[in-house]
Every structure is written in structure tokens, then in C-alpha cells.
């Protein structure tokens, strides 16, 4: 067997590379699409929190990520075209999780960066970026995305 064998003793012996939470060290990426309505927000923040918990981020980080995803997705869905989807990709890295949330919009919309919601978002997450794509030559509609990261230890309190 290739697996190194733990020593045999009469005391407790543990086997296995870890509890379910810590076995997924390498980056993981998950893409989720849901109709761009309020329910979408709950699905997205649940997936985010689950990934963070499984990657053994701190409880503060899990809470911060849930809130950041909630804020980002809640803002985006207000600008989504009817009958389109909210898309989130979650990239789990060693020291942070990056989330990219996007919707199709009816025009060159942007989010209000003077709002309290935006301030909460940028406090909870590091490296928040708004990305927008204008229609391409193939007739793709406008797309507005938010990208944000939350660190493994969560947001330091100021």
C-alpha cells in the first residue's frame, strides 16, 4: 500500500487524511446559475458558506462571506433583465474565496457605490470590483459582474 501506515498502539489511533471539512485543500471552482430573483440570493450565499466551511475558513469568515454574497447578489438582481439568471462562480483558494456574481442587464447599468450597502460589501470583502461588458458584435446583451474575495480568517475589525 502506498499510504503511510500510522503506528499501532493501545491508545487512540486515527486514520484517514482528515475530517470531511479539511480534505479539499486544492482550489475548487463551482458555478451556479439560478433565476435572478430573491431566492437566488439565498441559494448563492448557502453555497458560499458551505464551501467556506468545508475549506475550514473561520466562523467569522463564513459569516462575512455569506453577508458579502448576500449584498452582492441582492444588488445585482435588482438590475437583472426579466427571465434571466444570476450566475456565481466560487473559486476556493488556500487563503481566500473569490466570488464572481453576474447578471444580464437591460443597459449599461452600474451599482451605486455611494450606498450603505456598497460600503458594507467593501468592508466585508477585500478586492471588490465591478466589471461590465457591453454588447459584443454577436448581439450579447449587457452583463454586469461583481467580483469579491473573503479571506480565510475573515474581515479584520477596524
Amino acid at each position: 500500500m502506498a499510504r503511510p501506515e500510522p503506528p499501532v498502539t493501545n491508545g487512540p489511533v486515527t486514520c484517514g487524511s482528515g475530517v470531511p471539512g479539511d480534505r479539499f485543500d486544492p482550489p475548487e471552482d463551482v458555478e451556479v446559475r439560478v433565476p435572478a430573483g430573491p431566492r437566488a440570493v439565498i441559494t448563492m450565499r448557502t453555497v458560499a458558506a458551505d464551501l467556506a466551511a468545508r475549506a475550514e475558513f473561520t466562523l467569522d469568515a463564513v459569516a462575512d462571506l455569506r453577508m458579502a454574497v448576500d449584498e452582492a447578489c441582492s444588488s445585482l438582481i435588482t438590475l437583472a433583465r426579466p427571465d434571466t439568471r444570476l450566475t456565481c462562480t466560487f473559486n476556493v483558494h488556500e487563503e481566500h474565496i473569490t466570488v464572481t456574481a453576474s447578471v444580464l442587464t437591460t443597459g449599461a447599468e452600474r451599482l451605486d457605490t455611494d450606498s450603505f450597502g456598497w460600503r458594507v460589501l467593501t468592508t466585508l470583502a477585500s478586492d471588490v470590483r465591478m466589471l461590465s461588458a457591453t454588447p459584443g458584435q454577436d448581439g450579447d446583451p449587457f452583463r454586469l459582474a461583481l467580483r469579491l474575495s473573503v479571506e480565510r480568517l475573515g474581515t479584520p475589525l477596524s
Partner: protein
């Protein structure tokens, strides 16, 4: 009730459930279970309004059952605090869970709002001899 300017027309049923009870003469507890976010603003407001209509001069908002406190929810807490003060009443917040403490701490709002550990602590702080907010943290 006056129309709620914070209902942003998102066509979604309430994300929170609110229960109102009278804990002492003039003191009502409004317990919120669920998310305090843009969708549930109206529900939470309605609960507080019920308490005031029933004669509350102190309202304890029990946030123990809150799953997520979003920015819109935090704004609501500030607004309700101001609203009630203007109307000669008092809003006290109760809840020690991470889902409530964490957003208030991260945004610094814990310095502006009186958050008590639990309902008994909030009720004690609302009692007539000590009718002002006790800044515990």
C-alpha cells in the same frame, strides 16, 4: 400604517416571521425569525408598529432568531431607533449570535446601537428606573 418607502417592490413574500408579545405594561417584545434584509423590512416594521399601536413605550426587538442581517436590515435598525425616539418610545435590541453581532461589529454600528445579550437583559435596561440604553460594549 403609512406606506413604507423602503419596500422596493421586489415581488417576494416576507423573508422573516415576526411575533409580538407584551412582556410588561408598556413593554413589548418583537421577536424576529429569519432574514432581516430588503425583503423583510416591511414585516419587521409591521411588528414594531403593532407593538406601538398596542401602547408600547419600549420595544425590545429580539434578534436571537435572525439568520442574516443584511445592510438594508441594519439601516432599518438605525431608522427604527430614530423613529421610536421621535415618537417618545425606545427601541432595544437583543441578540448575542454571530449573525447579528458580526455585521454590526464589521460596520461599526455596534457603537450606534444598543445591543443586549438577550431579552431579559434588554427588558432590564428598558425598566423605568433605567430607561436609557446601556452601552455594554
Amino acid at each position: 400604517m403609512h406606506p413604507d418607502p423602503h419596500d422596493d417592490g421586489v415581488p417576494e413574500p416576507g423573508a422573516a416571521e415576526v411575533a409580538v408579545r407584551e412582556a410588561a405594561p408598556g413593554v413589548h417584545v418583537v421577536a424576529v425569525v429569519g432574514d432581516v434584509d430588503a425583503q423583510s423590512l416591511g414585516t419587521v416594521r409591521l411588528g414594531v408598529e403593532r407593538a406601538l399601536e398596542a401602547g408600547a413605550r419600549a420595544v425590545v426587538l429580539d434578534l436571537t432568531g435572525v439568520v442574516l442581517l443584511a445592510s438594508a436590515g441594519m439601516t432599518l435598525l438605525l431608522e427604527l431607533t430614530d423613529d421610536l425616539r421621535l415618537r417618545g418610545a425606545e427601541l432595544l435590541l437583543a441578540g448575542s449570535g454571530r449573525t447579528v453581532r458580526r455585521p454590526l461589529a464589521v460596520t461599526g454600528l455596534d457603537r450606534a446601537l444598543a445591543l443586549h445579550d438577550d431579552v431579559p437583559a434588554a427588558l432590564a435596561a428598558a425598566a423605568p428606573p433605567a430607561r436609557h440604553e446601556s452601552p455594554q460594549n
